[in-house]
Subunit: 225 residues, 2 copies
DNA sequence: AATATCGCATGATGAATATCATACGAAAAC
DNA sequence: GTTTTCGTATGATATTCATCATGCGATATT
C-alpha cells in the first residue's frame, strides 16, 4: 500500500502522508531524542563533545543506529543548533514586549550576562557554546547559524518594539556572545562577574532615548565620523 | 662542568645560566618555531587543528620530538595563545595613543571589525579563533586567556588615554569578539559586513561624551533607520 | 498465519590522535 | 681521541572517532 503511493507520488511526497504506525511513531520520538541530546551536548561540550556515540548514548541508543536517522553528522548538528537557538532565545524574550524598551533591554542583558547563564551550560546559548567551531565548520552548519542568528535578532528587535532595528539587536547579541565567552574563559570568578557587569552597563548606559512626544524618525541623527 | 653547577644550584637555576652552545641555540630556535607554528594553527584552525603532528610538521620537525621541548600539549597551547594575543593586540593599538579618543576607538574597531580581519585568519585575533574551546579547556589555557585578556584591556585603555577604564576596554573587546565571531560564521558576505558595521556603530555611538559642559547622560543617541 | 519490512544492536574498518620508548648521530666534554 | 650528552627521528601503543555492513527480532502487510 505504502509502496503503491510511493510509486505514484515519489518518495519524498509519500513521506508526507506516511501512515503513522507504532514503528514510525517510535522512530520519530527517538529522532527527537537524538536532536535534543545533541543540542545538550552541543551547549555543554561544543561540537567537539557532540560525538555520535555520546549523543546516541544520551538518547538511549547505540552508535551504529545513527545513520538510520540522519544523512550525516553535520545534518544532525545543524538541526541541533537551530533547536538550541530557538529554545534559548524563546526564554530570553519572554515577557519583554510588555516592558518599556529600557527595562526590556535590561532584562535581556541580565538574562544573558548573569551568573545563572555563566555556569548553566545545558540550557545556555549555543552561539557561545559553538562559537568559533561553527565558522570553521560545514556550510550546513553555517547556514543553520545564520538563520538562527537572524531569527534571534528578529525576535529580540520585535520584543523590544523596534521591529526594524535588526542592527541594534545584532550588536546587543554580539556584546552578549563576546562577553559571556570572555567571562566563562577566565579563571577568576570575580573577574568573570566584572566582565559581565561591564558589558551590561555598556549596553544600558546609552539606550536609545525613551519615547517622548517626538517621533523617532525626527530624532537628531548623530553624524557619522 | 654543567653537572657541577647543577649539583650546587639545582636544576632550574642551572637552566638560567646555561652555557649557550651551538646545540642549545638551535634548540631555542626550534622551540620558538614551534610556538609560532602553534600560534598560527591556533588562529586558523583553533585548538582542534593545533595537533602536535601538525604543529611540529609546520616547524620542520617530526611529531615525536615534541616532548623534548614542552611538558605537555596544554603548555604549548597556553604559550602560543599568549604569543598570538600579544602580537595581534600590538598591531591594533599602533598609533592610537596619538589620536583623540573618539578617533582612537574608531581606528580600533575598524581594525577589529573590518574586511581585512574578517578573512585574515593567520594574524587574526586568538580570542575569536579559540573562543569557546578555551573555557572548556585546561586551567593552564584559561589562565593564559585571562592574563592575555587583561593585558589587551590595559593596553587598549592605556592607548585611549583612559588608564583606569579597563571596563570600557573589556566591553569594546566583547563587542569585537562577538561581532567578528558572528560575521565569520554566516555564509552571506553582505550580512557579515552588516554585522560588523552594526557593531562598529554601536560602539562609536556609545562612547563616553567628549568633555563638554553637557553631562554624557543627556546626549541623544542616533536611532538607526 | 505467512511473509516482508525496518528500527536497532553488534561489530568491523580505517583514520587521526597524544604520548612514550628507543635509537642514531652530531656536538660537547673530558 | 674517546666518551658522554642530547636534539631529533622512527616507530609503537592505546584511544577515540565517523561511517558502514550485517543480522536479529518486533512490527506491519497480505
Amino acid at each position: 500500500m505504502t509502496l503503491v503511493i510511493r510509486k505514484i507520488l515519489g518518495a519524498s511526497q509519500a513521506e508526507e502522508i506516511h501512515k503513522v504506525t507504532r514503528r514510525s511513531a517510535r522512530k520519530a520520538t527517538m529522532r527527537r531524542k537524538i536532536v535534543d541530546a545533541a543540542s545538550r551536548r552541543l551547549r555543554v561540550q561544543g561540537l567537539e563533545g557532540a560525538t555520535i556515540a555520546n549523543v546516541l548514548g544520551d538518547a538511549g541508543l547505540t552508535h551504529g543506529t545513527f545513520y538510520a536517522h540522519f544523512e550525516s553528522k553535520e545534518a544532525l548538528l545543524a538541526e541541533a543548533f537551530i533547536t538550541a537557538a530557538a529554545d534559548t532565545s524563546e526564554r530570553w524574550i519572554k515577557g519583554i514586549s510588555d516592558l518599556p524598551i529600557e527595562r526590556g533591554v535590561e532584562l535581556l542583558v541580565n538574562r544573558n550576562l548573569g551568573t545563572a547563564h555563566l555556569r548553566n551550560l545545558r540550557t545556555g546559548c549555543p552561539f557561545v557554546a559553538a562559537g568559533a567551531e561553527v565558522w570553521r565548520g560545514s556550510s550546513e552548519l553555517r547556514e543553520a547559524y545564520e538563520q538562527s542568528m537572524l531569527a534571534v535578532a528578529r525576535k529580540v528587535s520585535g520584543a523590544l518594539g523596534k521591529q526594524n532595528d535588526i542592527d541594534l539587536a545584532l550588536a546587543i547579541h554580539a556584546v552578549c556572545v563576546g562577553g559571556l565567552t570572555m567571562a566563562r574563559s577566565v579563571l577568576d570568578e570575580k573577574l568573570a562577574l566584572r566582565i559581565m557587569r561591564a558589558c551590561r552597563e555598556f549596553v544600558l548606559e546609552r539606550l536609545p532615548a525613551k519615547k517622548t512626544g517626538r517621533s523617532h524618525r525626527s530624532r537628531i541623527i548623530r553624524s557619522r565620523r
